[in-house]
Amino acid sequence: MDDLVQRFLSGERRALARIISRVENGTPEGRDYVRALFPHSGKTHIIGVTGGAGSGKSTLTGALAGEYRKRGKTVGIVAVDPSSPFTKGAILGDRIRMQDLALDPGVYMRSMAGRGALGGLAPSIADVVAVMDAFGFDYVLIETIGAGQDEVEIAGTAMTTILVNNPGTGDDIQALKAGIIEIADILVVNKADHPAADILVSQLQALLALSPAGSRRPKILKTTATKGEGLEALADAIAEHYEYLDESGQLAKHREEDARHQVLSITRQIVLERIRAATPDEELEALVKRVAARELDPHSAAEDLAASVLI
């Protein structure tokens, strides 16, 4: 393990790739790598890119990374695509949209399968992002699975969240709804060469005008990622947002929130694993059958299971 950590710390990309695999698989060995590398993390601006399937997240992420390269910065990218709930298989196709970066030594791009996690992310995303942070990239971009209305978890991991919207995909009632739109720090109207782009921009503006006085309103920016248009303004807006976070004390708060969330979710996982390990399969199956037959309610069954470990 030490050898791989040494190679990682000296900047070897193969060591980074190897460690990410171990971390992604959530093995005890993977957790040891997180322990070894976590102290080196905490320097990177972590940016989330989310939005609907086909909204142009991958292309925009690639183009944004390209803009950072023009500015002499290094970029790590994690792009998540969904896993099959039936076979656990996945097609990870985000590299297709990022071909320009394929041989750039200042960019590392990793595809991840969602593996059943909620929120358009993967179960080990926080650990993988910490490892990429520790590697020393100036920016880490997280591209979520195509998100609908409620996948807000990205805002917990990312310091700056970009929501990618498309013209012609719904009326202003969609923009009025609660959920994902509330977590956006920057609203991007991608495919801005579409005739309805300006209508969407004004709908979003009208929506933001209803925000409470004194709250920070996200910027609305137009991009055409396939042509590389609007990326400079986007990178500037991201920098501006980071400055705001830092000066207002929000960044420190965000780090604490993220830490709290991680500690609690790992604790939940440990408890669940202990309970599963302490419960013979037959016992679990017997409980499951009784609940399915309506002889027992699921709350009582779960309390039964938990009691074996917790008391």
Binding site: F86, K88, A90, I91, Q99
Partner: protein
């Protein structure tokens, strides 16, 4: 009603985050204009429980090797229709070795004459799949030969 179940080679629907799916890179070097076959193979491996990274058409050997490194895949499958396999495949293997990627399972497929099999085997390709192959044979090959 179909529900997720345990009857797949990919594993079980456990709540544990400790999982290790096989990661496969399917790549097309050269100037082939379509990728029907590569997509069918990618889909079959997905249905077999693998995580398949697909990079699209017109990849250079360097791009494929770099993707194999960054994605830390267990398996690389190359697809080619143009006839340039003896030109391009050795360069892919060489570029991977240059990057220290020397422990992945290699296979290939496409329009590849029988008489070239020996040369490809020597390069490290464990199998050559031709038109008419049952996709289940490819999935089985991957599970039987992957180093996990």
């Amino acid at each position: 009603m179909a529900t997720p179940n345990d009857d797949t080679p990919g594993g079980t629907m456990s709540t544990s985050t400790t999982t290790a799916q096989i990661r496969v890179l399917i790549a097309k070097p050269g100037l082939d204009g379509h990728d029907r076959g590569a997509k069918v193979v990618a889909r079959a491996l997905r249905d077999g429980g693998c995580e398949v990274i697909y990079t699209g058409i017109r990849q250079t050997p360097e791009m494929i090797a770099e993707a194999a490194l960054q994605e830390d895949v267990d398996v690389v499958g190359l697809s080619i229709l143009s006839g340039a396999h003896l030109e391009l495949f050795p360069r892919v293997v060489e570029e991977m070795k240059k990057r220290g990627v020397d422990d992945v399972l290699l296979f290939c497929g496409g329009i590849i004459p029988e008489e070239d099999t020996a040369a490809l085997t020597k390069l490290g390709f464990k199998a050559v799949f031709r038109p008419g192959t049952n996709t289940q044979d490819i999935v089985k090959f991957v599970y039987d030969n992957v180093k996990k």
